[in-house]
């Protein structure tokens, strides 16, 4: 086919983009091989084609490329990576090429990294409770197998530790099944990647994990393809091999910045904060690659991590992410400064799939109401605290003072736990009841009477 013609010389270079003139038979989204003077092959993808010109984004970046002498070949298909079970236990770059010194993956199964949209009819609604052993998550923001639940963090907050703890502790109550972990790092520092690799190794899951690294020193444009390669392997393992895959993507803010960089070098009209207008659709094409399929055994659970620039949850990246994902775990600097680990914010955190994954036969009948009551009571604590800041604690009513006591206990006993502490859901609910029993019975208006009868602790025991 004409697609194999090699073109020499470029019409121009702008940021991560190159322009090739006089091309024929080039398709939109086709993969491109670029050879500079050094003969090293770079991979790119066409973004726009007309009868004369193709616009190509170069994943490895354009540094060192010259307009003269650069040779370009249009491969005539979209970017594909090999997929195989043997990729577990290995480390790859953002384009899926091994970087651990071990040989190439031998397989004839190739998959398009862009994937295909899942037919909503073919999805199975996720309902299996995953016990993470972290009370703030299990009790109040339950993670469900097949969910996409991001961690909204800020710089310096322990999001990596929390993700690592979840990867280590996560289990399904009904069956002894293990998670396969796929870890994709976009634009993070080597230490962060090292931390994950080490903690996966310590917990013994490294041998059945796959790691995709596009670190801070790699060209920013490579970050755009990294989550897609990782998810392509995840889809293969989950939906063809029937595995349960937990995909950790860090840091999505870096991904979005790479997208903004690309958009700006294409001269597109920016929307909020310079991010392109299609950021929502682009993020959706990543996050929606989670879930379960009807009749399939496997699942993909996604845990993207993103840092909110200056802890601003209304920044486009967390904002659009929150609109797509099924809830969010928000880390709070105030709790972190109090020395509480994990500093999971009580109120803005949410799991949308929780309602159908908990309750009688799944966790415990009172789970939903306990969570609702804890949220409602803690919201009241927050109101009373801001009042106390103005009028002084002494001026508060007796009930308000009880609430303050509840609030402190909630943070110190319920939220706080050790990095190595793995609580069962019964333990979490037990602690929850202990907290609620600090409040008068009448304040527990979100809980059915019979459950109060059964679980409410006499004052002495609650203290």
């Amino acid at each position: 086919m004409s697609a194999e013609i090699e073109y020499t010389n470029l019409a121009g270079i702008s940021g991560p983009l190159i322009f090739v003139d006089g091309v024929r038979g080039v398709g939109y989204g086709d993969i491109v091989e670029i050879r500079g003077t050094s003969d090293e092959i770079r991979i790119g993808q066409t973004l726009e084609v007309d009868e004369q010109r193709a616009v190509v984004q170069v994943f490895e970046g354009t540094s060192g490329l010259s307009v003269r002498g650069t040779r370009v070949t249009f491969v005539g298909r979209a970017l594909e990576i090999p997929v195989d079970r043997n990729m577990l236990g290995r480390v790859f770059d953002g384009l899926g090429r091994p970087i651990d010194g071990a040989p190439q993956v031998i397989t004839d199964r190739m998959m398009n990294v862009n994937g295909l949209p899942i037919n909503p009819w073919s999805r199975e609604y996720p309902r299996d409770f995953i016990q993470t052993g972290i009370s703030a998550i299990d009790g109040m923001n339950t993670l469900i197998r097949g969910q996409k639940l991001p961690i909204f963090s800020g710089s310096g907050l322990p999001h990596n530790r929390i993700a690592a703890q979840i990867a280590r502790q996560a289990k399904i109550l009904t069956a002894e099944e293990e998670f396969t972990v796929i870890f994709a790092a976009m634009g993070v520092k080597f230490d962060v990647a090292r931390f994950f690799i080490d903690s996966l190794e310590e917990s013994g899951v490294l041998t059945h994990s796959a790691i995709f690294l596009s670190l801070a020193d790699a060209p920013s444009i490579e970050r755009l393809v990294t989550p897609k390669t990782a998810l392509t392997l995840a889809e293969y393992l989950a939906f063809e091999e029937g595995m349960h895959v937990l995909v950790i993507l860090t840091d999505m803010t870096n991904y979005c910045e790479a997208l903004r960089e690309l958009s700006s070098s294409r001269g597109e009209i920016p929307s909020r904060k310079g991010y392109p207008g299609y950021l929502y659709s682009d993020l959706a094409s990543i996050y929606e690659r989670a879930g379960r399929l009807k009749g399939g055994r496997g699942s993909i659970t996604q845990m993207p991590i993103l840092t909110m620039p200056s802890d601003d949850i209304s920044h486009p990246v967390p904002d659009l992410t929150g609109y797509i994902t099924e809830g969010q775990i928000v880390l709070e600097r105030e709790l972190f400064n109090k020395g509480i680990y994990p500093p999971i914010a009580g109120l803005p955190s949410l799991s949308r799939l929780m309602k159908d994954g908990i309750g009688a036969g799944r966790t415990r009948k009172d789970h939903g109401q306990v969570a609702a009551q804890l949220f409602a009571s803690y919201a009241k604590v927050k109101r009373i605290r801001s009042l106390a800041a103005i009028v002084g604690e002494e001026e508060l009513s007796g009930l308000d003072k009880i609430y303050l006591k509840f609030g402190t206990a909630f943070e110190e006993v319920f939220l706080r736990q050790d990095y190595l502490e793995n609580r069962s859901i019964e333990q979490t609910l037990e602690i929850g009841w202990k907290m609620l029993s600090l409040l008068p019975r009448d304040e527990l208006y979100r809980i059915a009477r019979e459950d109060i009868q059964r679980y409410y602790l006499p004052q002495k025991e609650a203290m």
Partner: protein, 590 residues
């Protein structure tokens, strides 16, 4: 009659394709693009160049590829079999697609939206030889146990019915009737195409006077919507837009629900798909799916099809309206639709208006909401469409263009509040920022139930407004510094929030609250306020009233007393009144 045009692609820029050679093609005609014959629509004509937006993934498309067109506008197929079905934005059946190509949607798939082999039992209602006109009801089909499908003479057809089949089983391919019109013979089938961007005609519009009962207390009592009305639900992420839309789709008393998942999550549609066949409508004992049509163009499906999905949905709604039904359209979310417009307009190089949105955003929104309304249909029956659109403002900021423009074209505004959602107070509709313009129109309906309705509603609303004002003061000085009467107002407002406004959509009794029960609860709370206030003014301490078990128990009435037994609320309130009267003001005041 259709002419086939062919041309070739010259530019591919994402889903926007330029083609030449299609001489004679019209705006909004369908074009089939490239070797996969991807479906596209002509959205702009520029000299010899036709600009086409492609509704499917077009990677691999090359300049030089063929484009063809039958010069037909983008249309939906309307006929029996829509109910309980799920479609993508351009009405491709998702169930059929999954049978052909598995769990993923491959490109270039073409399937009939309606099952062409299924036999429907058709019962004619008119005799041959009758004069018929557009809208005449020719016969009926039992489409689902809840929906009697009516076959109407299509708009624009007048004349003598020269033939109609006998009662029996027919497919949508079979000829059913012939009409001798002035311009020749018209042969009709059970199904017909209609262009999505063209509203279906009706005789005239009427003033909506009946509320759409949603079973959600804050909506029905405080911010009601009329059948044929328009409402917007704006809210940042996590405030419960989709939950509210689901609750409305489940429990509102429309005959037909069209649920449009526009650029939202795949699992949310799956939730509807798994829930609705199991949920039983109390009013008729049938599963909710039997009155529901679903359009799912989730966020990861092609963006241009998202733009057209709301038109597909509203056209289907108009089709059932024309049969004389009350239809409710849930569009979740109109912001994603607006973003699709923005994305496409930016690829076309349009000069942007606010925040990159095209200048025609407001016009498009207005056109969409204008398709709602109560009308006298062509058949002479009344039919109505209520549109409820979710809006997803970036950062939860209501000053952004989509929320602002939408609020100009809707008459009901159910603003979701992040603070309420954080406290898990659902539905998190703010009683301060929301409004409705239908109150006077639907007042008479409620007055049939109880003459005092509006007074009671306004009295309770005033307690909430007073509470909101007092909260500002409390933030500065604390509640103990307020006079006892105002402290009591705060207490009652808290009771109203917990016993009335907050509603648990997973509680078997509380998920749907009948108008009668709403009224009883509301009156009970007002009695608590009035009686208690007298006592407090006479020197009784607020905490003594709050300490009564019968007072605290009001919070549980919503889930402990079933809808049918609403009169038990009166007994309860009487008992409460007795106990209140029995309280003796203590000498010490508060």
């Amino acid at each position: 009659m259709d002419e086939i045009l062919t041309g070739k692609v010259i530019v591919v820029n994402g889903p926007i394709v330029q083609a030449v050679g299609l001489t004679g093609i019209k705006m909004f005609d369908i074009a089939e693009v490239g070797p996969h014959r991807l479906i596209g629509e002509v959205i702009r004509l520029n000299g010899a160049i036709a600009i086409i937006q492609v509704y499917e993934d077009n990677t691999g498309l090359k300049p030089g590829d063929e484009v063809m067109s039958y010069t037909r506008p983008l249309s939906v197929l309307l006929g029996p079999g829509l109910i309980a079905n799920i479609y993508d934005g351009i009405q491709r059946p998702l169930v059929g697609i999954s049978e052909v190509c598995g769990s993923y949607i491959r490109k270039g798939i073409k399937l009939s939206p309606l099952d062409e082999n299924r036999k429907w039992e058709f019962q004619p209602l008119v005799q041959p030889g009758t004069d018929v006109r557009e809208g005449t009801i020719l016969g009926e089909i039992r489409e689902s146990p809840l929906v009697m499908h009516r076959l109407l003479v299509p708009p624009g057809i007048y004349g003598r019915l020269t033939g109609i089949v006998h009662g029996g089983d027919y497919t949508i391919k079979d000829d059913i009737y012939t009409v001798e019109t002035g311009a020749g013979k018209y042969t009709g089938k059970l199904a017909a195409y209609w262009p999505v961007r063209k509203p279906r005609p009706s005789r005239n519009r009427k003033k909506p006077l009946v509320p759409l009962i949603t079973g959600q207390r804050i909506i029905d009592t405080f911010f009601p919507i009329a059948r044929g009305g328009t409402a917007a639900i704006p809210g940042g992420f996590g405030t419960g837009k989709t939950m509210t839309q689901h609750a409305l789709a489940k429990w509102c008393n429309a005959d037909i629900i069209v649920y449009i998942g526009c650029g939202e999550r795949g699992n949310e549609m799956t939730d509807v798909l798994t829930d609705f066949p199991k949920l039983i409508d109390e009013r008729n004992g049938r599963p909710l799916i039997e009155r529901t049509v679903m359009i799912a163009n989730t966020s990861n499906m092609p963006v241009p099809a998202r733009e057209v999905s709301i038109y597909t949905g509203v056209t289907i709604a108009e089709y059932y309206r024309d049969m004389g039904y009350s239809v409710a359209v849930m569009a979740d979310s109109t912001s994603r639709w607006a973003e699709a417009l923005r994305e496409l307009s930016s690829r076309l190089g349009d000069m942007p208006a606010e925040e990159g949105f095209p200048p025609y955003l407001a016009t498009r929104l207005a056109e969409f909401y204008e398709r709602a309304g109560l009308v006298e249909t062509l058949s002479g029956r009344d039919g109505d469409i209520t549109i409820v659109g979710a809006v997803s403002p970036p950062g939860g900021d209501f000053s952004e263009p989509v929320t602002q423009h939408t609020s100009r074209f809707v008459r009901c505004f159910w603003a979701l509040d992040k603070m309420l959602a954080d406290a898990r107070h659902y539905p998190s509709i703010s009683w301060i920022d929301s409004y409705t313009e239908y109150l006077t129109e639907i007042e008479d309906w409620w007055k049939n139930l109880d003459q005092e309705w509006l007074t009671v509603r306004n009295d309770v609303m005033n307690i909430l407004l007073e509470d909101h004002r007092l909260e500002q003061v409390v933030k500065l000085v604390g509640s103990d510094a307020l006079p006892p009467a105002e402290q009591y107002t705060l207490f009652c407002a808290e009771m109203i929030k917990n016993a009335f406004l907050q509603q648990n959509s997973f509680d078997p009794e509380d998920k749907f609250c009948s108008p009668e029960k709403q009224l009883k609860l509301l009156k009970g709370l007002l009695i608590l306020y009035k009686k208690g206030l007298e006592l407090v003014q006479a020197g009784l301490a607020v905490k003594d009233i709050a300490a009564l078990e019968v007072v605290a128990g009001i919070v549980r009435l919503k889930s402990e007393i079933p809808n049918q037994e609403f009169n038990r609320i009166d007994e309860y309130i009487n008992k409460m009144e007795q106990e209140l009267i029995a309280l003796k003001p203590s000498s010490g005041g508060r």
